[in-house]
């Protein structure tokens, strides 16, 4: 019966102090970026009704969700994503707001992911959302903020690819393909499967220019020149508007001084039913998956009430941690400055000294074993503690410096005043 007692289920894990320290530090760096942009954090429940996600089968496929039932037999899920709950939150709690709502979140999400490459079934996502406005400035701000978040983590070598799903939708409108064929085409372009694209285009009566353009889509990534190249073709209004938006967003990001992180990818075409404008993804060395992704999703909020345009991004905390590790980027390590132990007569002073040092911002461990000093030294060495204060009595302290093995005597008054 207790066969599984000592195991954790596949895809979830304990996080030990060192890693946990790094993770929480990373989260707080990202949280600081959120706050500095004025996007305060919200929390949505870990558990939601299945119905919240059921319409978004591309973002949250039914088979990837952890499901269970409530007392009334309704289907509950562990949230696979936080953007969709935020859309619900905004549509219901900010119903009458006629100004942009800016929110952020950091929280755990759950998916039956295949494991490996940094993927777990329980994973932490952090993200920002702007709901209630569709502007080039909003699209650019969310990308700028995403870049700042990645920079704050310590990563320097990364790239944000920006695409525009409306451009693809415009092309498909012109090509007059059925919805099913459009989805087929999307998958082929997303896979850069040139052969498949050729095959699909071949069987349709599409004008040669458009054929050529569709066929080149998977190759249309790189600098802003990509847009110039495409603009030479005769395009419909939908495509022109999409390119115009992309150009504006890139101009604004240039004014932010972020051009070096940004490149264009017109062949990036994910989730056509969900995304409605600018989309983007972040890449770095050492992880095979994007570290962040986002974009404009103007048709989501309306599923929970009155429609509002929106854009946002989410960033995988675990992916960033893996990238930092793979790129050998070191950040602050957890450390303990000193360990205090005491003789029978020194206890009261020991607590006083401990309190003083902690107030000064030092990390101080109190000895709770009552062991002999040699044993305590061993413990301190294992934990990498720099020094031990042995408070002998009312007046005398032995300071053991473990780095050079020196022992000094100081008085309690000296210790309290010198610091």
């Amino acid at each position: 019966m207790a066969k599984w007692r000592i195991y954790t289920p596949e895809g979830v894990q304990d996080i030990l102090p060192n890693e946990c320290f790094h993770k929480k530090n990373l989260e707080s760096k990202i949280r600081n970026v959120f706050r500095s942009y004025g996007y305060y954090e919200v929390e949505t429940p870990m558990v939601e009704f299945y119905d919240v996600f059921s319409l978004e089968s591309e973002i949250a496929p039914q088979e990837t969700m952890f499901k269970f039932f409530d007392k009334e037999g309704r289907i509950l899920v562990l949230r696979p994503d936080i953007t969709i709950p935020i859309a619900r939150l905004v549509a219901t709690k900010y119903k009458d707001a006629d100004y942009p709502i800016k929110l952020s979140y950091i929280g755990d999400t759950f998916k039956y992911n295949e494991l490996g490459g940094g993927k777990q079934k329980e994973f932490t996502q952090a993200g920002m959302e702007i709901v209630g406005i569709n502007s080039h400035e909003a699209d650019a701000e969310i990308i700028a903020a995403a870049i700042d978040c990645v920079k704050s983590s310590g990563l320097e070598n990364f790239q944000i690819d920006i695409g525009q799903v409306e451009f693809f939708k415009g092309l498909m409108e012109e090509a007059n393909l059925s919805n099913e064929e459009i989805e087929q085409m999307r998958v082929l372009i997303d896979k850069k499967d040139f052969l498949g694209i050729e095959e699909l285009v071949k069987n349709h009566d599409i004008n040669e220019d458009l054929k050529e353009l569709i066929f080149s889509l998977p190759k249309l990534f790189g600098s802003i020149d990509v847009i110039d190249k495409v603009e030479k073709y005769a395009l419909n209004n939908r495509c022109i508007a999409a390119l115009e938006n992309l150009r504006k967003v890139l101009e604004i990001l240039d004014d932010y001084g972020l051009s070096k992180y940004v490149s264009v990818d017109l062949g990036m075409v994910q989730s056509l039913n969900y995304y409605t404008g600018t989309i983007f993804r972040g890449f770095t060395y050492g992880v095979g998956f994007p570290i962040l992704s986002g974009g404009r999703y103007d048709r989501l909020v309306e599923k929970f009430g009155e429609g509002k345009p929106a854009t946002g991004f989410s960033l995988g905390i675990n992916m960033i941690m893996m990238a930092l590790d793979r790129q050998k980027i070191t950040t602050e390590e957890p450390m303990i400055d000193s360990l205090i132990c005491y003789g029978q007569k020194g206890r009261k002073n020991a607590f006083k000294i401990c309190e003083t040092l902690r107030k000064q911002g030092l990390v101080v461990e109190m000895d709770i074993t009552g062991y002999e000093i040699e044993q305590i030294k061993n413990y301190a060495r294992i934990k990498g503690i720099g020094g031990i204060l042995n408070v002998l009595d009312d007046e005398n302290i032995e300071v053991h410096n473990l780095e050079n093995d020196e022992v000094k005597k100081v008085s309690v008054t000296e210790m309290l005043n010198n610091r």
Binding site: Q159, K192, D193, F221, T284, Y285, G288, F289
Partner: protein, 213 residues
């Protein structure tokens, strides 16, 4: 400079892939010597190679453990990995088909219970369920799939066919073609962005080499 890592499929694709890479100036001599090393290097071009079981190649590439992979399209279809399929290398060409006894010709949809023996459960399911809208029972086998209908284990099979000789000798026929199969070059999605210059040079080189043939 960072190493680019290439995963090659162990087996009949290995030699053909090596030939192709040598033709574009990548040094595969370490690969050709019968060493027991698992990872082999071309120091000049900063390229690492390793050989993996074909069905594992897409996994290595998806997770970024390899930047580039050479693998058959059958494996790609079966594994359904998230990667870029950038080149059709043309070699190792064959077809993925549904085959069965001659009396099933044109009567495939009349069969009530379809038991399908195959090494490719996902491809079989995808074909029957999505393309034909029929439910099937998949029987996963690891080899000599042609045997299954002969001994009554299944009604039909889904398998790769090159010349069709094995089928013919066992009284089986192709009932429908599912897909054309050949070797493909695949690239990890992130590598394609982060190392686009070096990877594109390899892709272009290989493409030119293939055009010459």
């Amino acid at each position: 400079m960072r190493y680019l890592t290439i995963a090659l499929s162990k087996g009949r694709l290995t030699e053909l892939s090596v030939e192709l890479f040598e033709a574009i100036g990548i040094d595969c001599s370490e690969l050709k010597s019968s060493s027991r090393k698992l990872i082999l290097k071309d120091e000049k071009n900063k390229i690492k190679f390793f050989l993996a079981k074909p069905s594992d190649v897409p996994t290595y590439v998806e997770y970024g453990a390899a930047d580039i992979g050479i693998v058959g399209r059958d494996t790609l279809l079966e594994e359904g990995r998230h990667l870029y399929e950038v080149l059709n290398l043309g070699f190792a060409a064959c077809k993925m088909v549904v085959a069965g006894p001659t009396d099933l010709i044109g009567k495939l949809d009349q069969l009530n219970n379809k038991r399908v023996a195959t090494k490719y459960p996902k491809i079989a399911r995808e074909y029957f369920e999505h393309k034909r809208g029929e439910s099937i029972e998949v029987i996963k086998l690891n080899g000599s799939v042609e045997l299954a209908p002969l001994v009554g284990l299944s009604e039909v099979i889904v398998d790769l066919v090159e010349s069709g000789r094995t089928l013919k000798e066992n009284g089986l026929v192709v009932l429908d073609e599912i897909a054309d199969i050949s070797a493909r070059m695949v690239v990890n999605r992130v590598s394609m962005k982060m190392e686009s210059e070096r990877i594109n040079r390899i892709i272009d080189g290989v493409r030119k080499e293939l055009e010459k043939r």
